[in-house]
Structures are given as structure tokens and as C-alpha cells.
């Protein structure tokens, strides 16, 4: 743990003084991390691609110390009270903005500087604590998004890549909420395609300023923010003295001049958050405000985005828990045919699903947060991306099921449920769409596996007899049914015997996943980048595997420590593992060559024909030829 408890400071905002030194180190080292190229420690998810479980990364489930827990609970209390009693989500949604007094209260609670180090006036929370607070903030999606845009991406660049002067200058005001930050990357012509960024910063003649020009779209907090992290192209002289356009990150204050923003977009959900266009016209940015290196903006952006994702898991889980309470109350009170709704099997099923999803995403989120908080700054970007994909899809699915339980009342504006649905739709889209993140998950892992397997695959391709015989023998043994033992179960196993069955399911999945990855690399090599449907399946399996690991680890800990209702956790863990196991088996079989379950070729043909006509192709069912 990066923090160690030290209590007794009354003031909420200055309470977490304790691990100041260690956290300052965190901040320092994080900024240094940008310069490093290879990941420092073996990440769990990447090893899964090789069919291995890196046990010590995920077992036992990360814990926080009692002091820390008390500390966070003290902090959580008032925030929770504020959110349940004072925040009027209905009004925020209706008016399309967060009222001033609500914003002021949020600032005074210190929610604008959760992860800003204490020496700059923030709370310096660890990732775990940040996730915990996210659960409460998630009760109102508009506020959650506003806060996330401010600190998860808006000012994150300064924490990660800023130098001492920049931090000292900007972070205190940002942490107090006096200034709000925004992250300006997307442009009309450029989403994740950074090469097509049109904004440009040119060095002025006295070489003291950059002149920034360009337009950015979909900027959350664009209308509120005073500090912008802006990405623009600059001319950089390369090592071989050729001039190239490269992305550079800048800290831009609204007061620099030439910064204007459009009117707030009228959105489907998260209506209270402020999203608008931001234009920069001949904005003079002093060279001290270059974030990171000149031309190093790409890495800055990547780091900010990769770091900001894990918290969605706990935010969504917080929202879901609330939703379960509300719908359960409804289901237990509404009578049909002299029975409560809760007595019908099809309704019960939905509650089990919601509980299971909430449990899994919570486990994944806190496992990831715990991994991120470990010393050595492991690269957990794949894990974070998996949390984001799983939780956003889970949110959409659960809210939809909840509306199903609620029937008509879920569909009208008199109740808050339809707002939940609208708000949760954005989760699948922003912070990298789920499709893009699946590509990231699969490709990053495959790159890792591909490098390690290079020698072996080359030997296979060259026709090395021993390697081929070895592989054939291995496949033969696999097909004859072997029991996989990766050391999770057994006497000194990492998991508790109550979930041992699920653990061996996970082991089996992991082993065969490793085999499949090897086969895929052998089949497609580097051209696998073009096989998006294959990559999607790889990512889906990996997300399931990570979810299984997280719940197994958490349930095992709960049993061993004797957490309240741990038997319920065991049930949820076993349900999820069994479902995920069969899903994985199916997906793995789809990844086989000539698999009858795999309909990709047909699917591609259909979409090709539809896209060629840009319309639905089939004739009307009532059409006749005669």
C-alpha cells in the first residue's frame, strides 16, 4: 500500500496527511514513468495470454489497513449524506446544468482534488480510496462525469507529466475547485486517429510563446473550465534532423485569450454535465506551459487515458447497488395475481443478474485499484480497460433489466429510472468506445505473447522436428482431456475450497486460452491486427478470465477472513464463473479453424452487401415476381 494510516487530524481536507512523503514519491515516480519504455513488472493480464496465472498479482485480494478504512469511511459519510439528501438529480437532468450551490458544496467537500497530492492541496487519495469515493459520486451521473473530466483526465496530465513549477502553479487551485480543468483532444476530424489532429501550435518569433489555433469538440467541462489540457501539432526536429509534425500537450489557461466555447450540447444522458466545443484562436501559450516534452504529447495523452479508466467499475457498481435497492422495494410491494412480483422466477432472475454484475465489476475494480496502488507502478492499462468494458456493458444491461422489472414506471419521467438508462448509455461510448478498448485489450496482450513466443513459432514455421513433435504431442494430450492444474486449488492453493470448482474452471480456461493464442499467432502472425472479429473474441475471453479471477480472489478472501454474508459471495462467484466458463468454451471453439460456430465469413458478406447498397438489401416480404 502506498499509504499508511495516521489519523487524528480533524479537518477533512487535510486529514490524509500521513503518507505524504510516500505519495510525493508516487507523483515523482509517475512522472518519471513516462520515460520508461518497458513495463516494470509482469502484469497479470498479459501473462494470461501465455496460459499462465500470475498468482501473486491477484491473490490474495488487496486489502486496506484498518486505519485507512476508518479514514475513508469518515470521509465517505458526509459525502454520501450530501449526495442522498441534497443533490437533486432530477433537477440537474431537467435544467441541464449543475446548480452553483451544489458545485460549491462539492468543492468544499474536497471532491475536486481527490488524487492531487497533499502538498498541492489535494487529498492525495490512493486509487483504492478514489474508487471507493467513486461509488458515491456515481449516484449522480452528471456530477460523476463532471468530476471525472476534471480530475481523471483534465488535471491528470499535470500530475503525471507536469514539472514542479507547473504543479505548484496549477494544482492547488484545481484541487480546491477554484479552477476547473478540461481535457481537449477530440476534434471534428479526429477521434482516436491522432494523426489527423488539425490544431496547431507554432513557436512565436521570440521563442517564448506558442501560438495555438484549432477547434476541439465534445469537451466535457468546456464551458466551465479555466484550465485546459490541449493537444496540438507542433513542428519538431527529429533526431535525423528532419522536420516532423508531432503532438504536444499544453496547459492552456482561459485567461491567455482567444479561448471561446460553443453552447452546451443537448445530450441524451448526463445532461447536467457541460459538453461543448472549444475554440482556440491565436492563443498565446508560454513555453513553460508545455506539458511533458515538446512532441511527446502522444504519450501524455495515452497515459492519461489509460490511467483514468479503472474507476468506472466502482462508480457503476455504486449506481447499481442503489438501483437494486430501488427495484427490489418495488418488486416486493407490487402485487399481481395475489403474489408479489418478487415471487416470480423471471423477476428473481433479473435480481440475481444485477447482483452478480455488481459483484463482479466491484471485484474487478478494487482488484485493479489494488494492483495500481502496489509499489513499482505496474502497468495495469489492460486491466483498467477490461474493467471499463465490463462495467459499462453491465450497467447498460442491468439498467435495462431493471426497467423491465419496473414496467411502465421505468419508462416515464416521473421516476428516476429512465434517467439511469439515459445516463448509462454514454458509458459504452466515452473514454474510448468499448470496441476500441477490446482491440486494445487483445492487441496489447497478443503483442506481449507474440514477442515471447517468437522463437517457438519461428521454429514451428521452419519445421523443426522436435518442436513440431512436442506441439503435436501436447495437442494430443490436450484433446484426450487433461486436467489443468495451475496451482490455484489444492492444499496450499490460493483459493478457498468452496470455490475450488470454479477455480479449476478458470484454470482450464486459462490453459486453453494460452493454447488458442499460440495457434492464432501461428495462423495470423502480425496480420491479426486486421482480424477484428477474432480480436473481439480474444478480448471477451480475457475479460471473462479477469472477472473470474477477481471474484475468486475476493470470495476466497471473504471466506477466510469471515466477512459478513460471504456465503452469498460464494454463490455469486460460482454462478459467474460457471457462466463465464461456458461462454469461454464457446468462444474458444469459435476461434478454432473451420469452426462451425464461427459465422464470421457470412457476417462479413452480409455487412458488405448492406454497406454497398447503404440500405437493407432484402425485398419486402410482400413483394411478388409475378
Amino acid at each position: 500500500m502506498a499509504t499508511s494510516g495516521c489519523m487524528g487530524v480533524a479537518d477533512l481536507l487535510r486529514r490524509a496527511v500521513a503518507a505524504r512523503a510516500s505519495r510525493a514519491l508516487v507523483a515523482f515516480a509517475t512522472s518519471r514513468r513516462l520515460l520508461r519504455t518497458s513495463p516494470p513488472s509482469r502484469a497479470f493480464a498479459k501473462e494470461l495470454f501465455l496460459g499462465k496465472i500470475e498468482k501473486k498479482e491477484v491473490f490474495p485480494f488487496p486489502e486496506v489497513s484498518q486505519d485507512e478504512l476508518n479514514e475513508i469511511n469518515q470521509f465517505v459519510g458526509p459525502v454520501e449524506k450530501f449526495f442522498t439528501e441534497e443533490v437533486d438529480s432530477e433537477r440537474i437532468d431537467r435544467e441541464g446544468k449543475i446548480p452553483k450551490e451544489t458545485l460549491e458544496k462539492l468543492k468544499s467537500l474536497g471532491l475536486f482534488g481527490l488524487q492531487v497530492p497533499e502538498e498541492y492541496g489535494g487529498l492525495g487519495l490512493s486509487n483504492t480510496m478514489y474508487a471507493r469515493l467513486g461509488e458515491i459520486v456515481g449516484l449522480d451521473a452528471s456530477i460523476a462525469v463532471t468530476l471525472a473530466a476534471h480530475q481523471a483526465i483534465g488535471l491528470k496530465g499535470i500530475i503525471l507529466a507536469g514539472n514542479k513549477e507547473q504543479k505548484a502553479k496549477y494544482l492547488p487551485k484545481l484541487a480546491s475547485g477554484e479552477h476547473i480543468a478540461a481535457f481537449c483532444l477530440t476534434e471534428p476530424s479526429s477521434g482516436s486517429d491522432v494523426a489527423s489532429i488539425k490544431s496547431r501550435a507554432t513557436l512565436s518569433e521570440d521563442k517564448k510563446h506558442y501560438i495555438l489555433n484549432g477547434s476541439k469538440v465534445w469537451i466535457t467541462n468546456g464551458g466551465l473550465a479555466n484550465i485546459f489540457t490541449v493537444f496540438a501539432k507542433t513542428q519538431v526536429v527529429d533526431s535525423d534532423s528532419s522536420v516532423k509534425d508531432k503532438i504536444t500537450a499544453f496547459i492552456v489557461e482561459r485567461d491567455f485569450g482567444g479561448v471561446t466555447n460553443g453552447k452546451p450540447e443537448d445530450k441524451l444522458g448526463i445532461r447536467g454535465s457541460n459538453t461543448c466545443e472549444v475554440h482556440f484562436e491565436n492563443t498565446k501559450v508560454p513555453i513553460e506551459n508545455v506539458l511533458g516534452e515538446v512532441g511527446g504529447g502522444f504519450k501524455v495523452a495515452m497515459n492519461i487515458l489509460n490511467n483514468g479508466r479503472f474507476s468506472m467499475g466502482s462508480t457503476v457498481a455504486g449506481m447499481l447497488k442503489k438501483l437494486i435497492e430501488m427495484t427490489a422495494a418495488y418488486a416486493c410491494s407490487r402485487k399481481q395475481f395475489n403474489k408479489n412480483l418478487s415471487e416470480f422466477g423471471l423477476i428473481q432472475e433479473k435480481f440475481a443478474l444485477m447482483a452478480q454484475k455488481a459483484y463482479v465489476m466491484e471485484s474487478m475494480a478494487y482488484l485493479t485499484a489494488g494492483m495500481l496502488d502496489q509499489p513499482g507502478f505496474p502497468d495495469c492499462s489492460i486491466e483498467a480497460a477490461m474493467v471499463k468494458v465490463f462495467s459499462s456493458e453491465g450497467a447498460w444491461q442491468c439498467v435495462s433489466e431493471a426497467l423491465q422489472i419496473l414496467g411502465g414506471s421505468g419508462y416515464v419521467k416521473d421516476y428516476p429510472y429512465e434517467r439511469f438508462l439515459r445516463d448509462s448509455r454514454i458509458l459504452l461510448i466515452f473514454e474510448g468506445t468499448n470496441e476500441i478498448l477490446r482491440m486494445y485489450i487483445a492487441l496489447t496482450g497478443l503483442q506481449h505473447a507474440g514477442r515471447i513466443l517468437t522463437a517457438r513459432i519461428n521454429e514451428l514455421k521452419r519445421g523443426n522436428v522436435t518442436t513440431i513433435l512436442e506441439t503435436v504431442g501436447q495437442r494430443l494430450r490436450d484433446s484426450l482431456g487433461r486436467t489443468v492444474d495451475l496451482g490455484l486449488t489444492g492444499k496450499l492453493g490460493a483459493v478457498h475450497p468452496s470455490v475450488a470448482d470454479s477455480a479449476s474452471k478458470l484454470e482450464e480456461n486459462v490453459y486453453y486460452f494460452g493454447r488458442t493464442v499460440e495457434t492464432l499467432l501461428l495462423r495470423f502472425g502480425k496480420t491479426i491486427v486486421e482480424e477484428q472479429m477474432v480480436l473481439k473474441r480474444v478480448a471477451n475471453i480475457l475479460i471473462n478470465l479477469y472477472g473470474m479471477t477477481a471474484v475468486l480472489s475476493r470470495a476466497s478472501r471473504s471466506i477466510r477472513v469471515g466477512i459478513r454474508n460471504h456465503d452469498h459471495e460464494v454463490l455469486l462467484a460460482n454462478i459467474f464463473c460457471a457462466e463465464a466458463y461456458y461462454q469461454n468454451l464457446f468462444t474458444l471453439s469459435q476461434l478454432d479453424k473451420y469452426s462451425p460456430e464461427n459465422l464470421d465469413e457470412q457476417i462479413k458478406k452480409v455487412s458488405q452487401q448492406v454497406l454497398e447498397k447503404q440500405a437493407y438489401v432484402c425485398a419486402h416480404p410482400l413483394d411478388r415476381t409475378s
Binding site: 486517429d193 494523426a195 486494445y440 492487441l443 496489447t444 507474440g450 501461428l522 502472425g525 425485398a619
Partner: protein, 431 residues
């Protein structure tokens, strides 16, 4: 015995008989065989004559029946004063029924009517065909025994019935229930017209939508609209934009376009625009043409703007920039590629061609007109100003003459040929 078997047997038998009778009735076109001839001989002669007897002799059997036809010609002459339209055609057919209570010479009349149909513009009218079939006396030609149906019963009438169906087929008219009902009434279920009907029912529906690039049945008359249609037909990309660079100067009363301002219509896709923008200005691009494109029975001509294929040493290898995609790697840093087992690319020798940047259809094919097109293109493709354009217009005469002479041959379709011809004369004059 099934019907099919009966037919096979009948044909086999008739062929055998044909050997015998052939000597007697050699070479006589079957439509001229007198009706009085014994029925057995009659049908064998027909079968012997050619195996393709199912195909009616249309438009061949002119010579024989012409004498008889003059008899009915006046029915149509009467209507000549009026407009040649459906109403008058129907009146003529009805007149025949009224004047000929016994329906004498109805086969000849039907053949005549079939030929007149196009004149009256009713060749695609199902109701008119049914009306023609209705002329046949009912029940008379139905075979009453298995032997009658084996040896073609009333062949001349059956052939005539088939001729009606055949003309329907060539104009793409689908018979309906009424047709079936009439045929059953006239010839019975086991007759050749019925067989033809069943086959039409089967294959018409299957072939109706077989063309993946359908051309509308009635082509637009306006040359600009026709050009738009032709361009859209050639360019499958729906995001392509059609631009009218020049409208034809208003047509005068005679209906001929002013040759000095012919229409110019072009099409270009965004991809083509991008390719043109990236074209190396040092390399010339070419306007080539005219090339012909047939839309149903009309031939239109188009020109293309293209460049030569770049020599391999000048081609830019598309490089994946290192910092391109913020979210996931666009390429993997691995040494090995796709294995042979998953490489489904066939080893095809591909002939690479230079890029085509735009297509146009113009009313005239001379350099002045096409230069106007290039000028118009410059508005959306500023790069074109720097690139030298070479006009490589084919000695269009030869090609055009050949195609225009080919035009004369087939029966003139829907009276378009005058316009076509004048257009071509224009072309020849200019080239």
C-alpha cells in the same frame, strides 16, 4: 402415363413417322401445310421440320399468309384514322370478332395483330395479349383422347398460341391467371401452349430479378437524365457526386440540341478526388474516350479522366505512422506474418491499371466540350490546375460507325433510333 412421358413418346413417334412422310412433304414450311391434311401426317410434318418447332416462326412466316392477311388488314386500316393506341387496337380486335362470327381465319388475324402490337404501343400490355388469346374458339382444340394429346392436336392453332406467349416473353410480360384460364379453355391442360405457359411462369419469376445492376424499363428521354443514370450505373459507390457541368442550351422547336452547348455530366467519388489531389503534377493525366455503354436499347458514350500506373519505384509505400492511434496499436511488432493455411488469397495474375479520377458523359465528344468538363472539375479539384491534361480521344468514327450500323439491324426499338442516329451523325460530323 405422365404428361412428360407422353410428350417424349409422341415426339419419338412423330420423328419416326416424319421419316416416312418427310419424303412426301419435304421442305414445306409447316405454316403452309393445308389444314385439310390428315391430322396425323400434319403433326408429324411439323415435328419433322425442325426440333425447335416450339419457337414460332415469328417473324419469319411472312410470305405464306400475307395473302390471307390482307384480308384482315382493313380492320386495322379502319382504325388508322384515329390515333394508334390501345383503344383502337382493342376496337380492331373486337371488330374481327363481330365480323367473323365463325372466327374464320383467326390464326392469321392473331399473327397480324401480334405484328401490329408494337405499332400501337401495346406490346407490353397483358390485357391485350389475353384479348388476343380470347379470339380462339374455346373447347374446339382441346384433345379429347390420350392419342390426340400425344399427336399434336391442331398444331397450327397451338403454334399460334405459342407465338402469342413467345411475344409476351420477348417483351417480358408475365402471364397471369386469366391467361392460364384461357389456355386451358382453348387448348386444354395437356397442350404445348400450356407447357410454354408453365415454363414461363417458372423461369420468368426466377430471372426477373437476376440482374444485380437493374436498368429501369423505361429509360429517361432527357439526355441529361440518361447520362446521370448511365454514370450512376457505372459507379457503384453511392457517395459519388454527380455534377452537371453544363446544361444543354434550351432545345428549339425541332427538338435538336444546339451543338455548340451540349450537356456535360460528370461523376466523381470522394476517393477519386483524394487520389487526384495526391497525384504528382509532373505526370500528365489523360482524357480518354469515347467508350460505349449500352443501357437497354440505347447506347451512350462516356469519357474518363485517368492517369498511367505509377512505375513501381515511384510508388509510395503506405507507412503506418508510429503515433497514430491513441487507443490501440495499429500494427504488431512481430516478425512473422500469416501462415499459408490461412492465406486465402488465390494466386491470380492481376493486371494493374492506372487510377481513374472521374467519368463524364457529354453531348459532344470533341476536345472543346471535354475541356469544359476539366474546367468544371477544377472547381472541386484545385490540384487539377497544376496537372497537364492530355486529350486522347479515339478516332471515334470507326467504333461509332460499327455500333451505329449494328443499330440498324434489330427491329427498331420504340422509335428512338432517329434521335440516336442524329446524335451519331453529330458525332461523326465532329470527329
Amino acid at each position: 402415363m405422365s404428361w412428360a412421358q407422353a410428350i417424349l413418346l409422341a415426339r419419338g413417334l412423330s420423328r419416326g413417322w416424319g421419316g416416312i412422310c418427310g419424303a412426301v412433304l419435304t421442305g414445306a414450311p409447316f405454316s403452309q401445310v393445308p389444314l385439310q391434311a390428315p391430322r396425323g401426317l400434319h403433326c408429324s410434318a411439323a415435328a419433322h421440320n425442325s426440333d425447335s418447332w416450339l419457337v414460332p416462326p415469328w417473324p419469319e412466316p411472312r410470305k405464306g399468309p400475307t395473302k390471307a392477311l390482307t384480308l384482315h388488314e382493313e380492320l386495322f386500316q379502319q382504325t388508322l384514322e384515329g390515333a394508334r393506341d390501345k383503344a383502337n387496337f382493342v376496337r380492331a380486335v373486337q371488330n374481327f370478332g363481330q365480323h367473323n362470327v365463325h372466327k374464320r381465319g383467326h390464326v392469321d388475324f392473331i399473327y397480324l395483330a401480334l405484328r401490329k402490337m408494337r405499332e400501337y404501343g401495346v406490346e407490353r400490355d397483358l390485357a391485350v395479349y389475353n384479348l388476343l388469346l380470347d379470339i380462339f374458339p374455346k373447347e374446339v382444340f382441346r384433345p379429347r383422347s390420350i392419342f390426340q394429346s400425344m399427336f399434336i392436336h391442331y398444331p397450327r392453332q397451338q403454334e399460334c398460341g405459342i407465338a402469342v406467349l413467345e411475344q409476351m416473353e420477348s417483351h417480358g410480360v408475365m402471364p397471369n391467371k386469366e391467361t392460364e384460364f384461357l389456355l386451358i379453355q382453348i387448348f386444354g391442360r395437356k397442350s404445348y401452349p400450356m407447357l410454354k405457359y408453365v415454363r414461363m411462369k417458372l423461369w420468368f419469376s426466377r430471372f426477373k430479378n437476376i440482374n444485380p445492376f437493374p436498368v429501369p424499363r423505361d429509360l429517361p428521354q432527357d439526355p441529361v437524365d440518361l447520362a446521370k443514370l448511365g454514370l450512376r450505373h457505372m459507379e457503384p459507390n453511392l457517395s459519388a457526386t454527380v455534377t452537371i457541368y453544363q446544361m444543354p442550351s434550351s432545345r428549339d422547336s425541332t427538338g435538336t440540341a444546339d451543338p455548340t452547348e451540349p450537356h456535360i455530366v460528370g461523376i466523381q467519388t470522394p476517393d477519386q478526388q483524394a487520389a487526384l489531389a495526391h497525384h504528382n503534377p509532373a505526370r500528365p493525366i489523360f482524357v480518354e474516350g469515347p467508350f460505349s455503354l449500352w443501357l437497354r436499347d440505347k447506347c451512350v458514350y462516356y469519357h474518363i479522366l485517368r492517369a498511367d500506373l505509377l512505375p513501381p519505384e515511384e510508388r509510395e509505400v503506405e507507412e503506418i505512422p508510429e503515433e497514430w492511434n491513441l487507443h490501440y496499436p495499429m500494427q504488431l511488432d512481430l516478425e512473422y506474418g500469416r501462415s499459408g493455411w490461412d492465406d486465402y488469397e488465390f494466386d491470380i495474375h492481376k493486371v494493374e491499371e492506372g487510377p481513374v479520377f472521374a467519368i463524364c458523359m457529354a453531348g459532344a465528344h470533341d476536345q472543346a466540350t471535354l475541356a469544359k468538363w476539366i474546367q468544371g472539375l477544377q472547381e472541386t479539384n484545385p490540384a487539377l490546375a497544376q496537372i497537364p491534361v492530355v486529350f486522347r480521344l479515339a478516332g471515334s468514327t470507326g467504333e461509332l460507325l460499327a455500333s451505329s450500323s449494328g443499330l440498324e439491324e434489330p427491329p427498331p426499338p420504340e422509335g428512338q433510333e432517329e434521335e440516336e442516329d442524329s446524335q451519331q451523325r453529330q458525332q461523326q460530323g465532329q470527329s
